[in-house]
Symmetry: C2
Amino acid sequence: MEHRIDRIKKQLHAQSYKLTPQREATVRVLLEREEDHLSAEDVYLLVKEKSPEIGLATVYRTLELLSELKIVDKINFGDGVSRYDLRKEGAEHFHHHLVCIECGSVEEIIDDLLEDVERIVEKDWGFRVKDHRLTFHGVCKQCQDVAVKTK
Amino acid sequence: MEHRIDRIKKQLHAQSYKLTPQREATVRVLLEREEDHLSAEDVYLLVKEKSPEIGLATVYRTLELLSELKIVDKINFGDGVSRYDLRKEGAEHFHHHLVCIECGSVEEIIDDLLEDVERIVEKDWGFRVKDHRLTFHGVCKQCQDVAVKTK
DNA sequence: TGTTTTATTGATAAGAATTATTATATTATA
DNA sequence: TATAATATAATAATTCTTATCAATAAAACA
Ligand SMILES: [Zn+2]
Ligand SMILES: [Zn+2]
Ligand SMILES: [Zn+2]
Ligand SMILES: [Zn+2]
């Protein structure tokens, strides 16, 4: 945890930004809830628990800043709110998501899986790939099991 | 064009919806601008040119309906607005997009490309894939060429 | 055909998410 | 320490989307 905070602090300093207490509180929430996919509002409420004086706009600004620095990725699962997802340590690319259309759960896939596809895109479309967003919509394991049982 | 309107009409009828003049006008705009990725507002303004009496809410309602029937797919490129994209005729899955971070252009990839990846996801994660969203962010051919020339 | 339902629409109000503004506070610099 | 540059909290404003509702049009019925 502290190690990752330090790294992020350095990334900010490298662009001459400071890790203010508000920014640190925000980053800590993101680290503590790394598996989740929190909206700005979610982050705000969680930060508020420990730093009640923080303002919503500061959270938005911080998330925006972290996005620009590629410390977090902003995603949208189609429900009208942006969600913020920490990059995995040392990850070159953004990870993938499995969104269940039954229960709404979101699983993560860290494996790249797209090397071949990106090679094709670069070769056949002449497009230089810098990043990607891949989300599968379908039915998760648990919901499939429930469906079998209740048949 | 008329052929595709007919097909869509049948798809609506199959769910006991009617192809009202307003809905038809909306669908025509989507067909005419199939290469583009229009927001609800964009569609509204284009429909208004030919059917000035249409209301914005009707356009939203129509796009929502077409989404439910999988006639259009709703996508979000991270700029805060939803965009609506007609499914290609007979396409099983949604197509992919190449978004240029330099000029903002959006190219489409109709080829599936994800068969292998989906097989892995189904096998290793036990997730039954129903649909996907895949967007690559990077530099398009034109912008690469410009970069070379201006060097 | 005339009457009753039902579905759809347009106008607009309401809601939710995000961004802009501004006065204040904090930090860095000379 | 005085001065300038950054960052913040509170909140107003904006943007996008959805909900409401009366009016209209279409369909079902008698
Ligand atoms: Zn599920
Ligand atoms: Zn994630
Ligand atoms: Zn480009
Ligand atoms: Zn498209």
